[in-house]
Symmetry: C2
Subunit: 146 residues, 2 copies
Amino acid sequence: MAARGRECSIANALSVVGERWSLLALREIMLGARRFDQIARNTGASRDILATRLRTLVDAGVLEKRQYEWQPPRFEYVPTEAGRALNPILLSLMEWGDRYVTDGPPPTVLRHDCGAELHAATVCGHCHEPIEPNSLAPVRIGQAPA
Amino acid sequence: MAARGRECSIANALSVVGERWSLLALREIMLGARRFDQIARNTGASRDILATRLRTLVDAGVLEKRQYEWQPPRFEYVPTEAGRALNPILLSLMEWGDRYVTDGPPPTVLRHDCGAELHAATVCGHCHEPIEPNSLAPVRIGQAPA
DNA sequence: TCAGCTGAGTTTGTTTTTCCAACTCACTAT
DNA sequence: ATAGTGAGTTGGAAAAACAAACTCAGCTGA
């Protein structure tokens, strides 16, 4: 599966969350849907694929599957720390989709604790400045195949 | 293709860049690889799929296909503004992959103009504070199917 | 001048995935 | 007794991905 492309953490990340429906399942879970049927309905994924994806995400340590009832067995999927750390990616995708894909107003609007409507921005963690297209220089680049 | 899931810009964004190989092709283009064979080699995607993906990305306005030589016809793919705006997503994925997936040191390291090694952070565009897991409240949520 | 190379795909045939609907199983509510 | 909910699994058809070979045009070097 890790094909013979460039060695790269983007590729590694996508091998975990890059399959169809994975990020949408994560979105639902972040929005608070924790049960299988809810996630299936709200994403539109077919149930067999969703079961496979959730298993993959649990195996990768992104989600935890918890049994919260035994009588009829019932489960919930909750994000781990690694799962919560995907929020920036979801928010960046939403921001980009709002600006460049979605027609009309954003379907989903969130408010940040500071009081403003959220518009996610990606900044340098050190100087906190936005990352401009040409403000990056390579120090080391994962090696590409021969 | 826009299945009957929740109306959502994340889903819309993924309908453009969420197919297998699209983001890796974008990564290569951001790293400066602009020719078909280079992108194919460095991603590991098979040529037919890559041709399809690049067409999709051009049609979606993420890339522009430019002919830079006529004698033997030669082309290059360059990011549009929408394409450059995907950089935050790639950097967030890299950051997440470095932390939670890649074993060992990050294969790729970039330096920001401020002098520090880049670690992308996602912040509220208004108050510039990092977005904590529970610092968001819904104002409006794209409606889910009935 | 003729074989081989490069770039940019397309074609072909085979494997994988995906999709969808229906089915299971266990319990609950009417 | 019937219907409904939750959490999947199963089976068969349709779509997508894969790999290798092929095309076509011009260029390269012997």
